[in-house]
């Protein structure tokens, strides 16, 4: 475990670096290198975000996106794990599905939006569809790979101790694959987050994607940049404090860290 003081020092370092980035941003703005209707200053962005927060649209939108994500991602994770376990259990399923999922993964999440609209119209189901299609394959592949990479020696050791059949799956193979599965879920969350914002961009009347779209409609560059920053911020926070935390504790337990 790293020293607490070390962590604090790293966090302070990061903060200084971010402030430096904002300073560069301000410098570029002040130098008038770009037209200011397309390139707002940090202050304008901050002011716009405060306005959006005051009138309640920022909070409501962030909440809407997160709720959609919670539902869509839960569905996606369940599907991804189920498919991944199937692929891990059957060589045939793995061979057939892996090429399909690798293909699906090359598609940007926004490319799922048109077909989602055709299939589900202007309902929230379209958003869930985009989330699932964006993130399921990454989790399925990570789970399948995690299972394929389980050291055969663990299985032999368990067999000699009398474990076989389904018990081998849940007592040995799944726990052994867990670090990779958790890594896949973490990646899946990021991809799903892309998906939800992409879908909202085109279809919806609330959500971070919707606020981005409205910013563009109203030629409000400060809103566009501000919402982008909020999207990144929420994505990073969940990644670090939810999935990152889980990943770290699993890796520490398995002795994979340090």
């Amino acid at each position: 475990m790293p020293d607490r003081r070390d962590t604090v020092r790293q966090d302070v370092g990061l903060l200084v670096f971010l402030l430096l980035l904002v300073a560069v941003w301000q410098a570029v703005y002040s130098a008038r290198l770009l037209p200011d209707y397309a390139f707002p200053s940090p202050l304008e962005v901050g002011r716009r975000l405060v306005e959006l927060a005051r009138d309640g649209s920022l909070g409501a939108s962030a909440r809407a996106s997160l709720v959609r994500m919670a539902l869509g991602f839960s569905l996606s994770a369940a599907l991804g794990l189920l498919i991944g376990v199937t692929m891990g259990a059957s060589r045939l399923a793995s061979r057939l599905l892996k090429s399909v999922f690798l293909g699906v993964q090359t598609l940007p999440s926004v490319a799922w939006v048109p077909i989602a609209l055709l299939l589900f119209g202007l309902s929230d189901a379209a958003v869930y569809f985009v989330i699932v299609m964006s993130s399921t394959s990454a989790m399925a592949i990570a789970t399948a790979d995690g299972i394929a990479n389980v050291p055969p020696l663990y299985v032999r050791a368990a067999r000699t101790l009398g474990v076989s059949g389904a018990a081998m799956g849940y007592r040995v193979v799944l726990p052994a694959a867990l670090p990779q599965v958790v890594g896949g879920i973490k990646l899946g969350w990021t991809l799903g987050w892309h998906g939800v914002v992409s879908a909202e961009l085109i279809k919806s009347s609330i959500g971070l994607g919707f606020l981005l779209y409205m910013g563009r409609e109203l030629n409000d560059a400060a809103q566009v940049v501000g919402i982008m920053l909020v999207t990144i911020g929420i994505g990073l926070l969940v990644d670090r404090f939810v999935f990152g935390q889980i990943e770290r504790s699993v890796r520490a337990r398995w002795g994979l860290e340090r």
Partner: protein
Amino acid sequence: MGARPANPKIRLEAATKTFDARGLRVDALGPVTLTADDGEFVVLVGPSGCGKTTLLNLVAGFEFPTTGRVLVDSGPVGGPGPDRVMIFQEPALFPWLTVRDNVCFGLRQHRHLDERERRGIAERHLALMHLEAFAGACVHELSGGMKQRVALARALAPEPRVLLCDEPFGSLDALTRERLYGELQEIHRQTHTTILFVTHNTREAACLADRVVVLTGRPARVKQVLPNDLPRPRDFYNPRIVELASRILDELKAELDVVGEGSHAG
């Protein structure tokens, strides 16, 4: 050692094993006929790659003989089972479990035990290996020697009647190894488990075995059987151990010469 009992614990009857590796036939085990009595400590030595591990795999039930038979308690081996636990060169502990839960692992198959009894048995076996202080530790916090001792405790907790050891001390340092010789002999004294132990370390063989079986190069056959009834517990530095080790080494060297000539002629 007197007359052998009619029904040995383990019996190989002209067992052979042939592998088909990418269209290439590999004879791993020549016809081997071998017995181990109940409670006997049999050490198998042979040139590396001679098929010692294959022999253990047959008894463990991981593989089946191509011809001949492998019997445990007079019945053919049908697959792996907790009555014949194998330990490997790598400790193969499960990193997601604590030391205690690793030792409990095989006991979970024993449905008649409740959780408290399982823990009790696990702690008793950890104490036998002087590891009771590490019951709650994570696997990666242990040294190599400690891990192998946990592996031993895990293998012994379900009280198997046969313990199969595939060079379990091969990757440990000399000091740790010598300590484990003492502990393994003590366990054997207490449990009377039948042990089939594979090694290429002649001193190790001489120190541990009731009977040393020297195998030929691949495909392994029984070349020589050396009984060893030196009193236990044995000291690794006992001159008679050293003497027996050098006899084993002579047998092995003769075997290497034969293999060398054979390949020369072929």
